[in-house]
């Protein structure tokens, strides 16, 4: 069994193509149901975000499965194969695990370290696992990836600091006020920048949003859009006294708020902080207004500097994060390798159990005179004996992680105990239900889908 990933992402696929291969358009559950019909694919997870569409699978033949998945993506999204093929990438086994770990950690994101992707991957995995499209291999892979994501977030600074101007402004507001839910925000202007900022503010639990513009109808229109309140332009300076966050984005050539306006407003604020975000160019607020006690004035350049600093800090953390990913990939691959011996273990145990049962059957006439208690004691002793005898070989087989070693052990055991000939179909099915994969060619593994 192999891990196989096929996908397209922002690295190579243009946005119009990414839109066309977005699984959420038709729904991930439907995609999973169609994937189920592809032969030799035992587990699958479909990840679909605005920047990537990826299918993670456990399959028998990666090359054949890759072709089948490419055909599936083309037909499911109705994109001609020749058009799609150049933008698809394939990763197998270790590379697939590494890719997922990097994705969850935010290392593969457009904005390195962005945190949303971890939640999106969790959601994708949840959909697949709830509907029974995953089993031990992908369960383990995805849970490992969540752990890697958590480690990267807590042990490196990769996810720290705002990397967009609007998020930087919100982060600053949180650092000044803590809880935003009781605060009042005032947005001056109704242009594109004002609208964008208001939309971001509206996404936060800000208590109230007021808008003012020289043209009242535009302020009213924007207020209706964001569930805010339009206030008259003439009352802006009075509004300052009861406002906590002011955003100015008017594009006016004159300063709208002077040092005096702000100082006067602060007198009636009883020292409560006032956060002013001036994103207008030219600036709307007199720079000296920032000198007033408890006033925090940030203009667009200040916010962009914060974003640049944070991005460069994140870049410096990439190596540490990659090292963590590397460690975890090794750990996962060791586990995956050890899973290759599972069918052999099952076959071996079954072989011993058959021998025990047949010997008990053969000796049954001699045990006729025994009491039921004594018979059950004999049953228990023989079972424990078999357990004891198999305990060490089972541990040894499970601890092996090298594929060649596992194959050699399997061959030897199969030859010594005639496992190949004697392993029943039932054992194979059982092993496949438990594992869904093996690298062992002597004891073929499951073709059962985990539904």
């Amino acid at each position: 069994m192999h891990l196989l990933l096929l996908g397209a992402s922002h690295h190579n696929a243009p946005v119009d193509l990414r839109e066309r291969v977005d699984f959420s358009r038709r729904g991930i559950p439907e995609a999973l149901r169609e994937l189920e019909r592809i032969p030799n694919i035992y587990e699958c997870v479909v990840l679909s975000t605005c920047n990537r569409s990826e299918i993670y699978t456990v399959c028998a033949e990666p090359d054949a499965a890759q072709e089948a998945l490419a055909v599936f993506m083309s037909s499911f999204h109705d994109v001609p194969e020749p058009e799609l093929a150049p933008y698809l990438y394939k990763r197998t086994n270790q590379d697939a695990a590494r890719h997922l770990f990097r994705v969850v950690s935010g290392l593969d994101s457009l904005v390195v370290g962005e945190p949303q992707i971890a939640g999106q991957v969790k959601e994708a995995f949840q959909i697949a696992s709830e509907q029974g499209f995953t089993s031990s291999s992908l369960n383990r892979l995805f849970h490992c990836s969540f752990r890697v994501g958590k480690r990267v977030r807590t042990e490196t600074g990769l996810g720290e600091g705002a990397v967009s101007v609007s998020y930087a402004a919100i982060s600053l507001a949180r650092k000044i006020f803590g809880d935003l839910s009781q605060l009042k925000a005032l947005v001056l202007g109704a242009g594109e920048m004002a609208e964008l900022t208001t939309t971001h503010l509206n996404a936060q639990p800000v208590g109230a949003i007021c808008l003012a513009n020289r043209t009242p109808s535009r302020a009213a229109a924007l207020a209706a859009k964001v569930n805010g309140t339009a206030v008259p332009w003439e009352t802006v300076t009075e509004e300052l006294a009861s406002t906590d966050i002011v955003v100015t984005a008017t594009g006016s050539s004159k300063r709208l708020l002077t040092h005096e306006h702000v100082a006067n407003a602060m007198k009636s604020r009883r020292n409560r902080p006032l956060f002013i975000i001036d994103i207008g160019v030219p600036r709307d607020v007199e720079p000296t207004a920032g000198e007033v006690e408890q006033v925090f004035l940030y203009n667009i350049d200040d916010l962009q500097t914060i974003v640049r600093d944070n991005l460069s800090k994140r870049q410096s953390q990439i190596d540490r994060a990659e090292l963590l990913v590397h460690e975890e990939v090794d750990g996962f691959m060791a586990w995956l390798g050890s899973r290759g011996a599972i069918p052999t273990v099952i076959a071996l145990r079954r072989r011993f159990e058959q021998t025990r049962q047949s010997e008990l059957k053969r000796l049954a006439p001699k045990l006729v005179g025994l009491s039921p208690e004594a018979k059950s004691r004999v049953e228990e002793i023989t079972r424990l004996l078999v357990e004891k005898l198999l305990s060490t070989p089972t541990e040894q087989l499970k601890s092996a992680s090298d594929e060649q070693e596992i194959a050699a052990d399997t061959d030897t055991l199969a030859r010594l105990f005639k496992l190949t000939n004697q392993t029943p179909q039932e054992a194979r099915d059982k092993s496949n239900q438990k594992s869904s994969k093996t690298t062992n060619s002597t004891l073929p593994s499951s073709t059962v889908k985990q539904r």
Binding site: T154, G157, R272
Partner: protein, 274 residues
């Protein structure tokens, strides 16, 4: 015996420093666990000393400092556990280590003069120690407030921006710690005055006779009470909060610290029970 909790506090302080710089959750947990362990050891030491001398070792600056450090550790742990913020440990624990050096080096428990054998005295000292611990915490919170304020105002977001809670949270924490401390300071001073009125007519002890507003220790502590009273009053009436409140809190505790160690040891004529 006081050297044992000191050693644990040193370990805890080092762990808080590592946690502050590297921000690894494990180092934070080690810091908290070692501080809890330090407090337990310190409790044991104070308990042993109580059994040894037959009363809580609050007499003299040495015993008082040890009890103060213990209370400060408790107050900090309470704050850490209720806010889930470990960033202030790097400021509090080193202060505890420095102060704990004094009882660790002198390592003796002062005998209690007969004049101090009173419930009033125990209430007086313990109230003041609770107040001091609260003011110490408020001072540290204030320092962190000012550091974060400077980063935000100067637009140079650095270590404190990344590690401290919001200005508003720090301001509220400072306000609560100051108010709590002010209540105990007021009670402690009031009880001290009542006790003095009770014993001064009969006590021949020169230290009791020296107790007046002109004694440096009493003068400074009354000055502190005025500073903190102003802080509590100004916050409620004129909205003195934020940076001004933080500076007041730091000045108040600076005075208390001055009173606690140099004045308590070398200058006072009324409170030299060591």
């Amino acid at each position: 015996m006081n050297a044992i909790p000191l050693a644990v506090y040193v370990v805890s302080g080092a762990a808080y420093a590592v946690h502050f710089s590297a921000r690894k959750p494990m180092s934070g947990r080690i810091a908290t666990v070692s501080l809890v362990f330090g407090v337990l050891v310190h409790t044991f030491v104070i308990g042993m000393q109580t059994m040894q001398v037959g009363h809580i070792p609050l007499v003299g600056t040495t015993g008082a400092i040890s009890a103060f450090v213990w209370l400060l550790a408790l107050a900090y742990l309470y704050t850490e556990m209720t806010t889930d913020e470990r960033a202030m440990g790097i400021f509090i624990v080193p202060l505890m280590v420095i102060l704990q050096l004094i009882p660790a080096i002198t390592n003796e428990v002062s005998a209690r003069p007969p004049v101090l054998e009173s419930r009033w005295f125990e209430l007086h000292v313990s109230s003041l120690l609770v107040a001091y611990a609260s003011f110490a915490l408020a001072c540290v919170i204030s320092i962190t407030y000012v550091l974060l304020f400077k980063e935000l105002k100067g637009k140079h977001l650095g270590v404190f921006y990344a590690r401290l809670p919001s200005l508003q949270v720090l301001d509220v924490m400072n306000s609560r710690a100051v108010t709590f401390g002010w209540i105990f300071l007021t009670v402690g001073l009031g009880v001290g005055a009542v006790w003095l009125l009770e014993v001064s007519p009969t006590a021949a002890d020169p230290r009791v006779q020296a107790m007046s507003i002109l004694d440096p220790k009493i003068f400074i502590v009354v000055l502190c009470w005025l500073v903190y009273t102003f802080s509590v009053y100004a916050r409620r009436t004129t909205g003195w909060s934020g940076r001004q409140a933080a500076w007041l809190s730091a000045i108040g505790f600076g005075l208390l610290l001055l009173n606690f160690v140099p004045i308590g040891y070398f200058v006072t004529r009324s409170h030299n029970f060591y």
